[in-house]
């Protein structure tokens, strides 16, 4: 009974995310119209079969722009999470497993970093590195995301440091690297995978916020946040712009959230 509903979450999340990712990937190769071309249709056309999400003040096809813009956001979020997860797990594993002075110092440093709102911190980093470059957005967000991954993995590693199977591995003469990555890492996936899905969603929102504020992706590239800020100016004339873009983003977050939720619940069920 219980198990079926878990699989329900996972299936729904995978289907929803799958469809959206398919659209996003397709957007890299093909969109119904050139997303940046003006006057592909009349200005402020309402959503129709021809223009699925209508057009904006330049007569650009919004559905094409959403496909393209979601692709930018998606790529930034994935890259951010990869940076955060890889370096965060590395730090968390080392500090959690070995403990000691480095652990105490790095974790307090993490506390200081997380005390700032992440957007603010990312803004500071971007202003140092120079705005207007997508790669800087990725680096800034990735850096900001490292402490949360480090914290989660540190706790997991510290909890398993003295597990009997880890002691056994040490007795057999396994190297610390082998213990960290071969013996322990597969056992912390239950906390790492949900953290990755949550991180992905936060990264989507963070990118959107930054682009909305004008410190993220710059025109003519579309991203969800940049499009939302564009859409705000014409909300009266073309509410479908904001609604279509926002709805797509909400669906993406919802789908990934469902996957994360099912992973988290499965974890609770196993142990």
């Amino acid at each position: 009974m219980k198990k079926t509903s878990m699989n329900g979450y996972l299936a729904a999340g995978l289907i929803l995310t799958g469809v959206l990712v398919l659209l996003i990937v397709a957007g890299y190769f093909w969109t119904p119209y050139d997303p940046n071309a003006m006057s592909v249709g009349p200005k402020f056309a309402k959503p129709s079969l021809q223009y699925l999400l209508g057009t904006d003040n330049f007569g650009r096809d919004i559905f094409s722009r959403v496909m393209k813009g979601a692709g930018t956001t998606f790529a930034i979020a994935v890259a951010t999470v990869v940076i955060g997860a890889v370096f965060g797990t590395l730090l968390g594993a080392l500090t959690g497993y070995f403990g000691g002075l480095a652990d105490a110092v790095l974790m307090r440093l993490g506390d200081i970093l997380t005390a700032f709102p992440s957007i603010l911190l990312a803004m500071v980093i971007i202003s140092i590195m120079g705005p207007g470059k997508t790669v800087n957005v990725v680096l800034a967000l990735g850096l900001v995301f490292i402490p949360s991954f480090a914290r989660v993995t540190r706790t997991a590693y510290a909890g398993l440091r003295d597990a009997n199977y880890v002691k056994s591995a040490r007795l057999m003469g396994a190297s610390s690297a082998r213990i960290l990555w071969v013996h322990i890492l597969p056992n912390i996936m239950q906390v790492l995978l949900p953290a990755i899905t949550i991180g992905f969603n936060n990264a989507v929102l963070a990118e959107a916020s930054m682009s909305y504020l004008g410190i993220g992706v710059t025109p003519p590239d579309a991203s969800m946040g940049y499009m939302l800020s564009e859409a705000q100016g014409m909300f009266g004339a073309a509410p479908w712009y904001a609604l279509g873009t926002g709805f797509f983003m909400v669906l993406l977050i919802f789908g990934v959230g469902l996957i994360g939720e099912s992973l988290q619940r499965r974890d609770g069920e196993v142990d």
Binding site: A163, N164, K167, S168, A169, M172, P186, N187, M189
Partner: protein
């Protein structure tokens, strides 16, 4: 049983230092002047109440804790350990085959075919069917898991094994089977055991000699029949009375 030794502890005193970056360091002495020998081929019991330092003794022998005074002398290569809870001592993420192969992989001198051969041979020795190789620990019964952890401890052919309460998590019929297996493996593979247990009945069934430990000291040691039938120390008498 020969007089040849596999392990000798001489006046070992050992303890833990605790305290972090900002905390005051404290020292907790757990073992006081512990001396005993483990002879080749014997099963030496170690009994005492919980919290008396039995596990610290095991950790000291294995080198996880450095003795502060005295000496731990090993006459064999790397000893191995069998833990109480056979679930936590087997990595839940992997199959039995992976778990049994891992010590051989770490050792690094056997090719895949040789590793597989040794795994199957050991599986036979602990009387498990080949089907368990593809299973994960969570899919096995408690007795099967403990057989797997015994096999994992023995696969590198150590001569000396520390068994920390290896049957206390199992029910009685399975206990008897595992004890029988340990006795059999001792004879076949010429093993010596330090068998830690709070269960005096189990110690009486299995062990040749016994150490009685109280608050970090060995208060009495000798042949099992001698200690159990004619205990000299008051503490040993209390333990025996409690086990009746």
């Amino acid at each position: 049983m020969s007089e040849e030794l596999v392990l000798s502890l001489q006046h070992v005193t050992s303890g833990y230092r605790e305290g972090g970056l900002f905390g005051r360091k404290t020292y907790q002495e757990v073992l006081h002047d512990v001396s005993f020998d483990v002879r080749r081929g014997e099963i030496l019991g170690l009994v005492g109440e919980s919290g008396t330092g039995k596990s610290t003794l095991a950790r000291t022998i294995l080198g996880m804790v450095e003795p502060d005074k005295g000496e731990v002398v090993h006459y064999t290569k790397r000893p191995q350990m069998i833990f109480q809870d056979p679930y936590s001592s087997l990595n839940p993420a992997y199959t039995v085959e992976w778990i049994l192969e891992e010590p051989l992989r770490i050792y690094g001198k056997y090719d895949t075919a040789e590793r597989k051969r040794r795994v199957r041979e050991m599986l036979e020795r602990v009387e498990l069917p080949e089907e368990v190789l593809a299973a994960k620990p969570s899919e096995l019964s408690g007795g099967q898991r403990q057989r797997v952890s015994i096999a994992a401890a023995l696969i590198m052919r150590p001569r000396f094994i520390i068994a920390d309460e290896p049957v206390s998590a199992l029910d009685v019929t399975i206990q008897a089977q595992i004890l029988q297996l340990l006795r059999q493996l001792r004879d076949e593979l010429d093993l010596s055991f330090l068998f830690i247990s709070h269960d005096l009945n189990v110690v009486y069934q299995l062990c040749d000699r016994v150490l009685v430990m109280k608050q970090g000291r060995i208060v009495e040691q000798g042949a099992v029949e001698e200690i159990f039938d004619h205990p000299k120390e008051e503490y040993t008498k209390q333990l025996l009375a409690a086990a009746e």
